[in-house]
């Protein structure tokens, strides 16, 4: 049952990163791609009605993590205190940036909030990468199940590298979204950025492979022990190839879907490599939190899987209704 919830949490985090990932990516490129006020206006209005719904996947995912693995929730959030507080502040900044910009009709006001939106989105994409990097690297969990990392230990070289990876992947995701949804000239600029960022994704995937093996060898060897898990990295690499092919073909809606699949592939690869750990300790420390020692009782999980299925089915209905509402009109062709 705990394993089921490991999958549930991974699913919710992956959905969050896919959905809010393009909001963050659009934000991270906001003042780079949007050179004029109407262009930035277009970019924000494309994600405006849906970003809040996308962010809910983070809150709901956090709730499910709290419910199923309270010990991991407690340890990770208190141990990475500064990282979490930073995420909260940046989420506030991002939300305010997008909601405030059109409250007052003045170019300076809008430019100011555009900058807030841009910088907080980019920083969030980076900090999420840093957080994942720390989880992969392992944290100095003690026998009491807690740990403490100062801000500068959170920002270790491996985590910074994964942070950069996160920024590049989500920027590429956002660029693909704009390439698909926006109109010229914004879409054209997004397309050339999407192509460039694809190269960045390839370089960083190559660049991160060896360091990942060196900080946590099981991230790689677990695939040798359980070959079926190789479907996840294969999904990621296949999606990356498809992204390239569809970019060349100018099929941007499909290239965006490939980018979604790439993100899912990356995160599931990471989850498969970590399993059964949720929050591993530094290598050679015995106190890592696994699905078994961090999970709550059986009854709670058995009940939760029932209502969770109902709630997610409802959420999918709501999201379908609303996405159809806002994506009904085909974008004008460039």
């Amino acid at each position: 049952m705990a394993t089921v919830f490991f999958i549930v949490v991974a699913f919710m985090i992956a959905t969050y990163v896919v959905l809010d990932g393009f909001d963050l990516g659009v934000g991270a490129l906001h003042r780079i791609l949007g050179r004029t006020d109407p262009e930035r206006d277009e970019a924000t209005s494309l994600i405006g009605p849906i970003w809040d719904g996308n962010e809910v996947w983070l809150i709901a995912g956090g709730g499910v993590l709290f419910l199923a693995f309270p010990k991991a929730y407690a340890a990770a959030f208190s141990g990475l205190y500064f990282g979490l507080i930073l995420v909260l502040w940046l989420l506030i900044g991002r939300g305010l940036g997008i909601e405030m910009r059109h409250q007052i009709d003045h170019p300076l006001w809008r430019a100011a909030w555009d900058t807030v939106f841009w910088l907080s989105s980019a920083a969030l994409a980076f900090v999420f990468g840093v957080a994942l990097g720390n989880v992969v690297r392992g944290v100095p969990l003690g026998p009491d199940g807690y740990f403490h990392l100062t801000l500068f230990h959170i920002l270790n070289w491996y985590a910074l590298m994964i942070g950069l990876f996160g920024l590049v992947v989500l920027s590429a995701h956002g660029a693909h979204f704009l390439a698909w949804r926006a109109t010229a000239p914004l879409a054209n600029r997004a397309r050339s950025w999407a192509r460039g960022l694809w190269c960045g994704e390839v370089l960083l995937i190559l660049g991160c492979a060896w360091p990942t093996y060196s900080v946590r060898s099981t991230m790689v060897t677990s695939f040798g022990d359980h070959p079926w898990r190789l479907v996840f990295p294969i999904l990621a690499l296949g999606a990356l190839a498809a992204e390239f092919a569809w970019q060349r073909a100018g099929r941007w809606s499909r290239a965006f879907l490939a980018s979604c699949a790439f993100i899912v592939g990356l995160l599931t690869t990471m989850a498969a490599g970590l399993y059964p750990y949720i929050l591993p300790a530094h290598e050679h420390r015995p106190y890592g939190l696994t699905v078994d020692n961090a999970a709550t009782g059986h009854h709670a999980l058995a009940v939760a899987i029932v209502w969770w299925s109902i709630a997610i089915a409802l959420a999918i209905v709501y999201f379908t209704v609303v996405y159809r509402l806002f994506f009904r009109q085909r974008p004008a062709r460039a």
Binding site: P49, D52, L67, A74, Y81, L84, L96, Y146, G297, V303
Partner: protein
């Protein structure tokens, strides 16, 4: 109590109080938005129900009133969202030991809030704010109802979570952690129903007084007469209904639950030191915890016994019979917050009653004195709501989960989150929230200064230039 716990408590108190200012109005206003939209959409000239018997023009006015309040709602909702994310994550950051201990139980309801309420709310708020031109009248009405439902369901799961902290049920302790034993037992916690009813009714009172307050402002300024009438009527009638429900039965019943399950909190609320048969109800007085007595008090004999158990000579347990280690750590705070809440509740009920009487006599819109009173009343509904939560949260002390875990034992271990770290983030939140508050006030005042769209042909059909959740 160690300093890191104090800092964690201060930060939680600041962030939750600031956050809750916004859901009060979100939940209260959502009910009125659903009402306005329902009249506009379902109304007709030959409807049997008098509330819905409206001409096409009147319905257009209702729609425009809803459009106006939707703007206020949007800004309010956005601030509620950005400050609300903080709350869930703070359980993990600052209250790690409590999260570890109780996550198996309250994680359940927090996750349900996210999956059942927030998905609905967030998906439909975007649609609702995008407006009826873009959605069509039917879908816009449904979106308003979904936003209302989402916000009230969200409130329900938060109350279930809080109710478990107030009165833990349906758990077993296993390996030093609370685990859920019965899901329906958790949702059916005897604490839940009346606390929820009392809380939601409090939110509607705020919504009602805000509605009436703005109607009063425009009436005093001589602007937007039709809009003001709708707001004033719905406001005072709603205020009377819900401020009555606030006292009886919800306040009465909830107080009886407190008396039964948290005698320490109840004795502190009432400032009752010696256990008494036929205990008096204190109207005014100052608790002196050193000498364990109430100074300069005015009391109504036997009333407290009657209110708690409907028997004039029932015994009510006083603080003297409770060990001081189990007293709330500030008895005066609990006492005064409770009396402020009750006092304001009573005054607001009287105001609502006068408002409805004037409305009935057809003099409400002409009474400048009443307009002034309504204009100045709404901030006090916020104070009453916050005071009520202060009673609930400080009355529960020194426990974070009543008689299960002490607050000091629930904070993150000082090794993970030292006091200095907490002070840093507390200061950061103070600065950030000050900025948010200024933005909120400025933007809301701008909406108020512009006012609702005036009469004339139905609203222009141009879709909004940008359509984000707060356009």
């Amino acid at each position: 109590m160690s300093s890191h716990v104090t800092v964690d408590r201060l930060q939680f108190a600041l962030t939750v109080t600031f956050h809750y200012l916004f859901p009060i109005l979100t939940m209260g206003l959502a009910l009125f938005l659903a009402y306005l939209k329902s009249v506009a959409y379902l109304g007709g000239e030959h409807r049997r129900l008098a509330l819905l018997r409206k001409t096409a023009e009147e319905r257009e006015t209702y729609d425009r009133a809803a459009d106006f309040w939707a703007k206020v709602f949007a800004v309010n909702f956005a601030v509620g969202v950005v400050t609300g994310v903080v709350m869930e994550f703070q359980f993990g950051t600052n209250w790690a030991q409590f999260s570890n201990f109780s996550g198996g139980v309250i994680g359940q309801t927090l996750a349900m809030e996210g999956t059942f309420a927030f998905f609905a709310e967030s998906a439909f708020i975007g649609a609702f704010i995008a407006g009826r031109q873009r959605l069509g009248p039917r879908m816009h009405w449904i979106a308003a109802l979904m936003v209302f439902t989402g916000s009230w369901v969200s409130g329900f799961f938060i109350i279930v979570t809080n109710a478990w902290m107030q009165h833990p049920v349906a758990y077993v302790i296993h390996g030093g952690r609370a685990q859920l034993q019965s899901f329906w037992g958790l949702l059916g916690n005897p604490w839940v129903f009346w606390q929820y009813a009392h809380n939601m009714s409090g939110a509607v009172i705020t919504g009602a007084f805000v509605l009436a307050g703005l109607g009063a402002l425009y009436t005093l300024l001589g602007r937007h007469p039709e809009f003001s009438r709708i707001c004033l009527t719905a406001g005072v009638v709603g205020a009377l209904i819900f401020s009555t429900l606030q006292i009886f039965p919800t306040g009465d019943q909830h107080a009886r639950r407190v008396a039964r399950y948290q005698p320490s909190a109840f004795a502190a609320m009432e400032g009752l030191f010696p256990t008494a048969r036929g205990a008096p109800l204190v109207i005014i007085g100052n608790p002196d915890t050193q000498r364990r007595r109430l100074e300069s008090s005015i009391e109504m004999p036997h009333f407290l016994s009657f209110l708690t158990s409907h028997r004039w000579n029932a015994t009510v347990k006083g603080l003297n019979d409770i060990p001081t280690s189990q007293w709330p750590d500030s008895v005066p705070l609990v006492y005064y917050a409770y009396h402020i809440m009750v006092g304001l509740g009573t005054i607001l009920w009287v105001m609502a009653l006068i408002g409805v009487l004037l409305l009935w006599r057809g003099r409400l819109f002409r009474s400048r004195r009443m307009m002034w009173a309504l204009l100045l009343a709404w901030p006090f509904t916020y104070i009453a709501n916050i005071a009520g939560w202060t009673v609930a949260e400080t009355g529960r002390q020194p426990w974070i989960a009543f008689h299960l875990q002490r607050t000091a034992a629930g904070a993150s271990p000082p090794g993970s989150v030292p006091a200095g770290t907490g002070i840093f983030s507390l200061l950061g939140f103070m600065g950030l929230y000050l900025l948010i508050l200024i933005l909120y006030v400025v933007l809301t005042l701008r909406i108020v200064a512009r006012g609702p769209q005036e009469g004339g042909p139905p609203a222009e059909t141009a879709p909004p230039r940008v359509a984000t959740t707060a356009s």
